[in-house]
Symmetry: C2
Subunit: 211 residues, 2 copies
């Protein structure tokens, strides 16, 4: 179904080294951008020869494909888990934001690559990731709809969700884990509060600068 062959060599050692390679590629992609990043840089980061990369993936595009595929799958799985047992619509949306920010903290480079290179892949690989991405968007969109089950219009909730993703996907542009004195949980709570109630009635945090 997918555009890229997924079931080939299947020893645990092979998979493990491929994951290691994908992590190295994510670091280089997030630092340089996909187009500027070179396979030679990735080989250096992964401590493998240039030609050695092609034993684990078919090419540069497939590196990006797997990074994005795994990341969006993990976001979706985490979202479902985060919503378990929570009924209140406001808390459910807060859990979704918390899940996204937690993933960001654990896989910063991968999330950055997903946000920045949304339109980089082409053909079937693009459609594959796009399907996953749409599922994630729709899942969050449904949570937004639940906030105003009767009053809200479809367009209104759709626009609000798009802007929520704007906040989430722009995160990597200003968040610096080295400098921030605010925990990711607090930042997620602030973002959820800003989206739900606006800045005017938004709970603020301590007084240290984040950046």
């Amino acid at each position: 179904m997918g555009s890229i062959d997924t079931a080939r060599k299947r020893t645990p050692a092979f998979d493990s080294k491929r994951i290691h390679l994908l992590a190295a590629a994510a670091r280089v992609f997030s630092e340089e951008g996909y187009d500027k990043a070179s396979m030679r840089q990735i080989a250096g980061e992964a401590q493998v020869s240039l030609a050695g990369i092609y034993h684990y993936v078919a090419g540069k595009e497939e590196l990006l494909y797997w990074i994005q595929f795994h990341t969006f799958e993990s976001l979706l799985r985490g979202l479902e888990k985060s919503l378990e047992g929570i009924e209140d619509p406001r808390q459910r949306l807060g859990a979704a934001v918390g899940n996204h920010i937690r993933h960001f903290g654990d896989n910063m480079q991968e999330l950055k690559v997903c946000a920045r290179e949304l339109e980089t892949l082409e053909g079937d690989a693009y459609e594959d990731v796009r399907r996953l991405r749409r599922s994630y968007f729709e899942a969050v969109h449904n949570l937004v709809k639940e906030l105003q089950p009767q009053r809200g219009t479809h367009l209104g909730s759709w626009l609000a969700t798009a802007n929520l993703f704007g906040m989430l996907n722009w995160f990597y542009q200003w968040y610096d884990p080295e400098r921030s004195r605010v925990s990711l949980d607090d930042l997620a709570a602030q973002q959820a509060s800003l989206f739900l109630d606006g800045y005017t009635s938004c709970n603020s945090i301590g007084d240290d600068r984040g950046n």
Copy 2:
């Protein structure tokens, strides 16, 4: 002062053709991304030979530099004009959002290039644009501070401003002028309302899908 020579040839015809070239470059950059875009594509888009480009700019980096410089300067000038005569802090912030979105509508490719290629330039050219960008951010940040002159903390207003820019800078990812049945003014009003009062009490728009 700037890193790039600005006062050279100065006939009106020369300046006009350079502006035409910069517009063509912005179209190609916004479509392909800076790194993937080639000088040959830009030459084709501008209807000039490849070598002809170098009569108007020193190289590829300078194309991006001028695009970003002019765009941020225009954003800043427009912001000052938009605030004239407006006293109410909420209306002032709404005017700032409106100014940004209006600029987006008038110079879609340039705004996209500014949002996407924020970390592309290097050295003095990067610092030049960064200064302008900081000025724009601080101007909006001050408007946000005015919303809660006594209660808000510096960090709280800074984080809110960063998230506001997330909404604004992510705009190009989902807004499609061909499909949208909502005017840019309405979208700007919705974004300002979302930031000020949150989704719960956010005024919604009509019922047509934007995308």
